[in-house]
Assembly symmetry: none
Homo-oligomer: 195 residues x 4
Amino acid sequence: MDKTERRQQILTHARNVFAKRGYHAAKIDDIVAAAGIARGTFYLHFEDKRAIFEEIVDGAFEGLGKAVVRVNTEHPTLSVADQIIENIRSIVRVLIADPATTKILLSDAVGLDPAFDRKLLSFYEGIGKFLESSLEDGQALGIVSPGDVRMFAIMTLGAMKEIMYQVVMRGLAYPEGRIVEQLFSFLSAGYLRVT
Amino acid sequence: MDKTERRQQILTHARNVFAKRGYHAAKIDDIVAAAGIARGTFYLHFEDKRAIFEEIVDGAFEGLGKAVVRVNTEHPTLSVADQIIENIRSIVRVLIADPATTKILLSDAVGLDPAFDRKLLSFYEGIGKFLESSLEDGQALGIVSPGDVRMFAIMTLGAMKEIMYQVVMRGLAYPEGRIVEQLFSFLSAGYLRVT
Amino acid sequence: MDKTERRQQILTHARNVFAKRGYHAAKIDDIVAAAGIARGTFYLHFEDKRAIFEEIVDGAFEGLGKAVVRVNTEHPTLSVADQIIENIRSIVRVLIADPATTKILLSDAVGLDPAFDRKLLSFYEGIGKFLESSLEDGQALGIVSPGDVRMFAIMTLGAMKEIMYQVVMRGLAYPEGRIVEQLFSFLSAGYLRVT
Amino acid sequence: MDKTERRQQILTHARNVFAKRGYHAAKIDDIVAAAGIARGTFYLHFEDKRAIFEEIVDGAFEGLGKAVVRVNTEHPTLSVADQIIENIRSIVRVLIADPATTKILLSDAVGLDPAFDRKLLSFYEGIGKFLESSLEDGQALGIVSPGDVRMFAIMTLGAMKEIMYQVVMRGLAYPEGRIVEQLFSFLSAGYLRVT
DNA sequence: AATGAATGAGGTTTCATTCAT
DNA sequence: GATGAATGAAACCTCATTCAT
């Protein structure tokens, strides 16, 4: 087994262990036992426990980053609505496809310590900035209500995170399509009809 | 200083320490140093580190539970919309009033370990159930769109959690009124106008 | 309650606690709880935990010391045999009368630490010396076999200790008379008839 | 050094430390210092302090168990008297050969706490039962006096324990042969000649 | 490269004792 | 004298990381 494969194998098992136990309760022993390697071997491939965890989280960030595509409003091949829906869909798909990683992202990586919090916040800030600028474009085109785009971005992110949190933590059994549809309809019209 | 005061004093300092460092990085020594007491004194008042953390979280749960009031649709003194707004306002107010606790709730308490996750999920499940049944009432009255109330509840909760997370983690400086107003408007109409 | 009474009360309860739990497992808290006093009060009457334990053991030594009377061979009012029997009887009686103290002596006080071991050994050495010299007198009178009186003393002491150990530790239900009679007959003739 | 050797080495040093200081005064640090290993290494081989102590005591029990052989009265190659003597001799030999363990057994392990007391009592009960049944056989053959065999067993055990206690605690310098001979003669005829 | 025994810093908790009230 | 909250030394144990084989 070559070095890259071995790394990948350890990463995969570590991901499962972290997802199952949480960062602190996951011991190096659990990881090497799951991977079927010796303790020393782990350290041949990863600097330390923190490093492998960061690598898992960074990988997740990257995967999500790739899932998001800027909505093309100039020469769209799909309608704007469909592009938004496709965006939501690809994000949801990535998250659902790897529940262990999603759980790590939405639960285990949260509140680890101030340094890790900064990393997480910085990722969400990137997402937020991207969403905000997209929403601003949308406002220019009249497809996003006038209003505080930062707030829109935050609430959108929150709604999405919470659905996925419930999916991975409680096993909420919603298929991708239903999640996407509900989110889109929520963003489009809310649900309160009180005036 | 009597026993209750002393407990309260330790709780307050512990809360700050947990909020500053996170659960694991917060050492008993940090807490007792902050409280200006000896290490043994801590254990006179609390079983162990976990216990004081749980007490902080439970206190937060309780405070939030009290903040939520069922919307009265039968003999309302306020319009339904105003009641919803008041509900949102009181929750937001409680969270903003004590950012340390809010940070603990939304960050430090998350992903601590499977046991704590269950506690957290169970709290959110309670909130969710309450919201769902309120939303069902609302549907009967025609003030909530037909649709999946569980999803509505989750997305609402997520939007709210994310705003507060940003407020306590990034120091997002939104006043209570603005948060309430934005949330209400989001729940009422979303922001996408793509059809 | 005057000082002496209070001391006595604490001693009595401490004795029970030590007998029940053993020296180390007996906490000052257990003692003061049993005595119905405050923790500080304990220290008004006793230097420390060790001191009260020593006092209990010293008291037991004293009680046993008083139980033993030198056999009078010159102007006996009782036969020598009867005097020996009376001696055994009074020792057994003292031990059986206060099982808690006996348990402390034969179990809890044993192997506490080198310093306490010395105390215990010194007590047994006193007993041993006394027995040895009595046995020597007996040899002079022809009522004790020729032989190693130190060994006789040790084996006699051991037989007696073990009976009492079984009585207090296992609740071996032998009445005083039976124990005395068995011991005397054992010392008189052993039980092996192999030649 | 392989795992078994290392365990053995730690056991040996721990035995000395326990024998020297007693269970409670013996710190893990003393043991690891004596063994010349790091603290963590200790815990690699033993669950905890209690576990290594129990292992030492259990080992002693086992060694003693092996030393005792049932007296063969049907087709004896040695006379019954000689068989008894050999039995006593092998027990005494085992105890004298390893004074540290004997001291632990007769002093440090005594009165440790109720749980350990039960372990000890259960061992002595086993020995007692064995002796009692042997004595009953002896009575049937007429080589043991009629009488209470349980009492005989207890007194025999006590005499033996006390001799060994004196040997290891006071350095009583009796050679094996002398101890055996004295014990045998004591069991055979006692020493009192008072009518 | 792989192993796994060894390391030791670091943290939690206990509990005998003190002392202000 | 009595109280009981406060103290802090001391001890155990864990586990990430190292390193000789």
